[in-house]
C-alpha cells in the first residue's frame, strides 16, 4: 500500500487503533511521513472549519414557486385513471366476474419450490493512478490472466484509470498491466500473494 493511501486511511478514520498507533510511531521516526500526515490533517481541519453560509430566507418559497411554474409549463406527466360511471346492475356483473377470477386463481397449480440460487457474482471496481499511460488493464485468475479482457478507462483525463468486473465469491489474484506490457502490483492492495516469478499478485476477496 502506498504511503499516501495509509495517510488517507488515518485521516479518514479508516485505521483501527493499533494500525493508527503503528503509523504514528513510524511517523515519529520518519519526518517526511510526519509532514504528509500533518499536511493532510491541516487541509481537512481548514475545510471543516470553514463556516457554512446562511440559507437565504426566500429559498424555500422560491424553490416551490419555480417548481409549480415549471410543472404548469410542462406536459402532464401522469394521467389519473378515468372514473367509471356504471349502472348498479353492471357493478353486480363486474363483482361476479372478479369473484370467478379469484376462485380460478386460487385453484391454479402450485409453483415448484425455487431452486437454491448459486452465490451471485459481485461487481468489483479497480483503479490505478497511471499518468501518461496509454492503456491499463486488469489481468487475474478471473479472466485467465488475459491482458485485454478487463480494460480500465480514464475518461476525465486525471490519470486515474478505473473499471470493474463481475467476480464470483472467493479470493481472486490480479495485477494491472500498463501499456500492454508492464505488470504492476496494486499499490493500494492490502493482501498479496507471491506468484513465484518475482511478482506480487494483489488479492481481492469477494464474499
Amino acid at each position: 500500500m502506498t504511503r499516501s493511501e495509509r495517510v488517507r486511511r488515518l485521516v479518514d478514520g479508516e485505521l483501527d487503533a493499533v494500525e493508527a498507533a503503528a503509523l504514528r510511531a513510524e511517523a515519529a521516526r520518519d519526518p517526511a511521513l510526519a509532514a504528509e500526515i500533518e499536511a493532510a490533517l491541516d487541509v481537512v481541519d481548514a475545510l471543516r472549519a470553514a463556516p457554512a453560509p446562511p440559507v437565504p430566507d426566500d429559498l424555500v418559497d422560491g424553490a416551490v414557486l419555480r417548481a409549480v411554474q415549471r410543472a404548469h409549463a410542462a406536459p402532464p406527466r401522469r394521467r389519473a385513471l378515468p372514473r367509471l360511471h356504471l349502472h348498479p346492475a353492471a357493478w353486480v356483473g363486474l363483482g361476479a366476474a372478479a369473484a370467478l377470477a379469484l376462485a380460478l386463481w386460487a385453484r391454479r397449480p402450485s409453483a415448484p419450490p425455487p431452486e437454491e440460487a448459486a452465490p451471485a457474482p459481485r461487481r468489483v471496481e479497480f483503479a490505478l493512478p497511471a499518468e501518461g499511460a496509454r492503456t491499463v488493464a486488469v489481468a487475474g485468475d478471473f479472466n485467465e490472466w488475459r491482458t485485454d479482457a478487463t480494460v480500465l478507462r480514464d475518461d476525465d483525463g486525471d490519470g486515474v484509470f478505473v473499471g470493474a468486473a463481475e467476480l464470483p465469491p472467493g479470493s481472486h489474484a490480479y495485477m494491472f498491466v500498463v501499456d500492454g506490457e508492464r505488470w504492476v502490483s496494486d499499490p493500494y492492495a492490502t493482501n498479496f500473494r507471491d506468484d513465484g516469478f518475482g511478482h506480487r499478485n494483489a488479492i481481492v476477496r469477494v464474499d
Partner: protein, 198 residues
C-alpha cells in the same frame, strides 16, 4: 485498488430506505400536491444549498441553482426510484445543476463583476476572532477556486459536507477507488494552494 462494489447498494438505501412519511410526500407531490412538495423542499434544502454555495463560491448563484434543482426534481419526480434515498437523488440533481452552471456563460458574467465570496455566519464572535475567521474563510475559498473542478468537488463532498465515500459514490457515480485517489491528490493540491495564498 480494488473494491467490491456490491456493498455500495447500501449507499442508496443504507438501511434507511425512504421512510413512509417521505414516500407519502413524494406520491402526493406526484399527484400535484404542491404542499407535499414544499415539505420535501423544507426537509432537504439546507445541505443542498450548502453544497451549492461551497461548489460555486457565491450564495446568490447557489440559491438560483438550488431552486432550479428543486424545479427539475418536481417535474421529473415520476422518474425517482423509491428504492434509493431521496437525499441521494436530490444531491445528484443539484451537483449536475452546479456543473452546468459552472460551464455556463452566466457564471462567467457574474464572475467578472463580483468579488470572491465571503462566507458569513449569522452568530459572530468578537471582532478580532471574526476578522481572523473571515480571513481564513477567504483563503480557503480562493484555494478551493484554484483547484480543478473534480478536485474541488471531491474536497467539498468529502471534507466539507462530510459525506462517506459510499454516499459520494451514489451521488457522483464515480467508483470509490477513484474517489479515494482523487481525495488524496486534491488534499495535496489544496495544501499547496493554501500555502501559496497564506
Amino acid at each position: 485498488m480494488a473494491v467490491v462494489a456490491a456493498a455500495l447498494d447500501s449507499a442508496h438505501t443504507g438501511g434507511r430506505e425512504l421512510g413512509a412519511v417521505e414516500r407519502r410526500w413524494v406520491r402526493d407531490a406526484l399527484d400535484g400536491d404542491a404542499a407535499a412538495f414544499r415539505l420535501i423542499v423544507e426537509a432537504h434544502h439546507r445541505p443542498l444549498f450548502t453544497l451549492a454555495a461551497r461548489l460555486l463560491g457565491n450564495v446568490e448563484d447557489a440559491r438560483d441553482v438550488v431552486q432550479e434543482s428543486f424545479a427539475k426534481a418536481y417535474v421529473s419526480l415520476d422518474r425517482y426510484d423509491e428504492r434509493h434515498r431521496l437525499t441521494t437523488w436530490l444531491h445528484r440533481i443539484t451537483l449536475n445543476t452546479c456543473r452546468d452552471f459552472l460551464k455556463s456563460a452566466k457564471r462567467r458574467e457574474r464572475a467578472s463583476g463580483d468579488d470572491p465570496i465571503l462566507e458569513r455566519v449569522d452568530e459572530r464572535p468578537g471582532p478580532e476572532e471574526a476578522l481572523e475567521r473571515d480571513r481564513r474563510a477567504v483563503q480557503v475559498r480562493r484555494a478551493l477556486d484554484s483547484l480543478k473542478p473534480s478536485y474541488r468537488e471531491a474536497l467539498v463532498l468529502k471534507d466539507m459536507q462530510e459525506l462517506s465515500y459510499k454516499e459520494i459514490r451514489a451521488i457522483t457515480g464515480t467508483p470509490i477507488t477513484a474517489l479515494k485517489i482523487r481525495v488524496v491528490r486534491a488534499r495535496k493540491r489544496m495544501k499547496r494552494a493554501l500555502e501559496a495564498g497564506a
